[in-house]
């Protein structure tokens, strides 16, 4: 169970004890040895998960916003861009909980709608980025050699290229842009970080005895990756997804803010964009720009803190008693 190597990536070495995953997948040699303890290990992880304040606090904040995304639209009578939902530049009131914009639109309606697009972009964009990162990272890390060199170079190139330039071309082509294309765009441009992290982790796993054993018994490469390597870093993959998820939220906010986001839906970045364009900061209409940014900060911050908690749950070395 103890691991000798210390990796240099931020959230690393947090893998499940080697053996659990093998047993589940039925890799015979490990199964016999480990099976009796599987139940105990599972409940141990659950125990630490439920007693980890970081995980609980971070998780509940994210959950709270997720609930608000679904319940929110039922609580407001106005559409996000509907005019005449209240007075212009009105502060929060019983009728407009979060006040109104310069155009008399309801800020709460925009906020709730923006939350929806935020989570949608994050799930699709973050998921896609993790998926591409996994494909590239596993292949590069497991194959090594020339394949690794080429993929590494590709990763570094995508990392450095200013993605805004690419986005401008796409933005010019599509008059009406939806959330989906923004999510796809984020997914296709933000995977390098995940690829690097997963590659490094795969690299440290690929010469372990159980992987060698699988290779000796003639198991195909992709099967080794998916049955031997991936399960042993499943917690790491999950945490990578959470980071990509949070990252996608921040990127989407930036894109929306410079006016390159979806054109047909409300978004939190777009709210800040219009607030700044109509001088809400200089005129002190705080109710217009405080909620969208606060929501992003709390959601992403909650995700990060949740990740630290998860790291402690999965990695016994980090637990504090």
């Amino acid at each position: 169970m103890s691991r000798s190597k210390t990796s240099r990536e931020p959230i690393s070495d947090a893998a499940l004890p080697v053996g659990i995953a093998d047993a589940e997948r039925g890799a015979a040699e490990a199964a016999i040895l480990v099976k009796p303890t599987v139940g105990k290990k599972k409940s141990e992880i659950l125990y630490f998960a439920l007693h980890n304040p970081k995980l609980l606090v971070g998780g509940s904040v994210v959950l709270l916003f997720l609930i608000l995304t679904f319940v929110g639209p039922l609580l407001t009578h106005y559409g996000p861009f509907e005019y005449g939902a209240g007075p212009t530049n009105g502060p929060p009131s019983a009728r407009n909980w979060f006040g109104t914009t310069t155009f008399g639109q309801d800020v709460f309606a925009q906020f709730v709608g923006g939350l929806g697009s935020t989570f949608a972009v994050a799930i699709v964009g973050g998921g896609l980025a993790t998926l591409i990162g996994m494909i590239v990272g596993f292949t590069a890390g497991y194959r090594g050699g020339l394949v690794d060199e080429i993929l590494n170079m590709l990763t570094n190139i995508v990392l450095v290229i200013p993605t805004l330039a690419v986005l401008l071309i796409i933005a010019a082509y599509l008059e009406v842009r939806g959330i989906l294309w923004e999510a796809l765009f984020i997914g296709f441009t933000s995977w390098p970080w995940a690829a690097r992290a997963i590659r490094a982790q795969t690299f440290s796993l690929r010469n372990r005895d159980f992987v060698d054993l699988a290779r000796l018994s003639g198991v195909r490469s992709h099967k080794i990756i998916f049955t031997e390597i991936a399960p042993n870093m499943s917690s790491y993959l999950f945490m990578t997804f959470i980071l990509m998820f949070g990252g996608a939220i921040l990127i989407a906010a930036t894109l929306d803010f410079i006016g390159l986001g979806p054109t047909n839906t409300a978004s939190l970045g777009l709210m800040m964009n219009t607030a700044v364009l109509w001088s809400a900061m200089h005129l002190g209409y705080w109710w217009w720009f405080v909620p969208p940014g606060a929501a992003i900060t709390l959601i992403v911050g909650g995700l990060y803190i949740m990740n630290v908690g998860l790291d402690e749950v999965f990695n016994p070395k980090l637990r504090e008693f």
Binding site: P10, L159, I169, Y173, A200, I258, G293, V308
Partner: protein, 330 residues
């Protein structure tokens, strides 16, 4: 070491080539004819418009074949000629950008360097200290989760508007002209502070947390335990852990550059600070694609140069790269 730099330079060369090609595509693949739509926006009489279209077509060589256009683009690029701006009428793009560049660099460089140094020191200090870990580090996480423009808006609204300590738009007061007088310098510094500070804070949170996590891993490494067993002083172990933990932080800086630059651009927009970010917004709104093209070239070049400097720093800090082993993941 030669191998290390050779590989790096190959990556940078390829990146530059690809990025420039994408950049070249911007005005060419815009729907409709960019020249005629730009001229239409200038709202001049038809006969003048016709001549303008001719002029611009000739200027940008749009009447030649695509391949020739592409090579001409590279040729003029090396001559430092990026075309003529539409938004700032008749000015060469290079001049327009050169006017804005100092403001962006003046924000970015101090913010990056100071936040990196301060964040690393603070993160190392907070690691494994129970009190700081539980009180100040959540603050760090919230800071790094804050969208750059939002922190800018909030600081501008609170410190600028409510308390009136700092001005919140432009780089200096309208009544002043740039000069080397105390009055102008203090005025410019006051205008500079809020955009700088909001960039600094967001980055500081990120570096502090990165360092804290890294130090914890290093303190759990075998060499730390060994030193501990030998009875080495706590301070010495920490020093070694810090040195090892700085390497991935350096890599992190290289990885984060794109995000940081985007952060600076939106922060400038919030404060109306006349750097490249405001220029990007203006050229998007005015469909000044040639200016946009020029700005991105500068950003690409800047990011590549910064990456190269970080690589050099890596060689200085990590002896393994010097003797030919490929150390770290930079």
């Amino acid at each position: 070491m030669r191998r290390y730099f050779g590989r790096k330079l190959l990556t940078y060369g390829l990146t530059f080539f690809l990025a420039v090609t994408i950049d070249w595509l911007i005005p060419r693949f815009m729907p409709g004819n960019p020249v005629s739509s730009m001229v239409a926006r200038a709202q001049v009489r038809p006969e003048i418009a016709e001549r303008l279209v001719d002029y611009y077509n000739q200027l940008y060589g749009f009447n030649e074949s695509i391949i020739t256009q592409y090579f001409n683009f590279w040729k003029s690029l090396f001559q430092g000629d990026l075309g003529t701006s539409i938004f700032v009428f008749g000015q060469p793009v290079t001049n327009v950008i050169m006017d804005a560049l100092p403001y962006t660099l003046g924000l970015l460089l101090p913010a990056i360097l100071l936040s990196w140094v301060a964040g690393n020191k603070f993160g190392a200090f907070a690691a494994r200290s129970k009190y700081l870990d539980n009180t100040l580090l959540p603050v760090g996480y919230v800071l790094t989760a804050t969208p750059y423009m939002w922190l800018g808006i909030i600081l501008g609204w609170s410190l600028g508007l409510k308390f009136g300590w700092f001005p919140i738009s432009g780089a200096y007061s309208f009544s002043l002209r740039p000069a080397l007088s105390w009055k102008f310098i203090t005025d410019a510094l006051l205008h500079w502070f809020l955009p700088f500070f909001s960039l600094f804070l967001v980055m500081f949170g990120g570096w502090a947390i990165g360092m804290r996590n890294m130090i914890i891993y290093e303190l759990e490494a075998d060499y730390s335990h060994y030193l501990e067993a030998l009875g080495a002083p706590r301070k010495l172990i920490r020093k070694y852990a810090f040195r090892n933990a700085v390497l991935p932080q350096l890599t992190g800086l290289a990885l984060q550059l794109g995000v940081i630059v985007a952060g600076a651009l939106v922060t400038e927009i919030v404060f109306g600070y006349p750097g490249l970010g405001l220029l990007v917004l203006n050229s998007i709104q005015n469909q000044d694609y040639f200016l946009l093209q020029g700005i991105f070239l500068f950003i690409i070049a800047g990011v590549l140069i910064a990456n190269f400097l970080i690589d050099v720093a890596y060689v200085l800090v990590d002896p393994r790269t010097r003797i030919g082993m490929t150390g770290g993941t930079a």
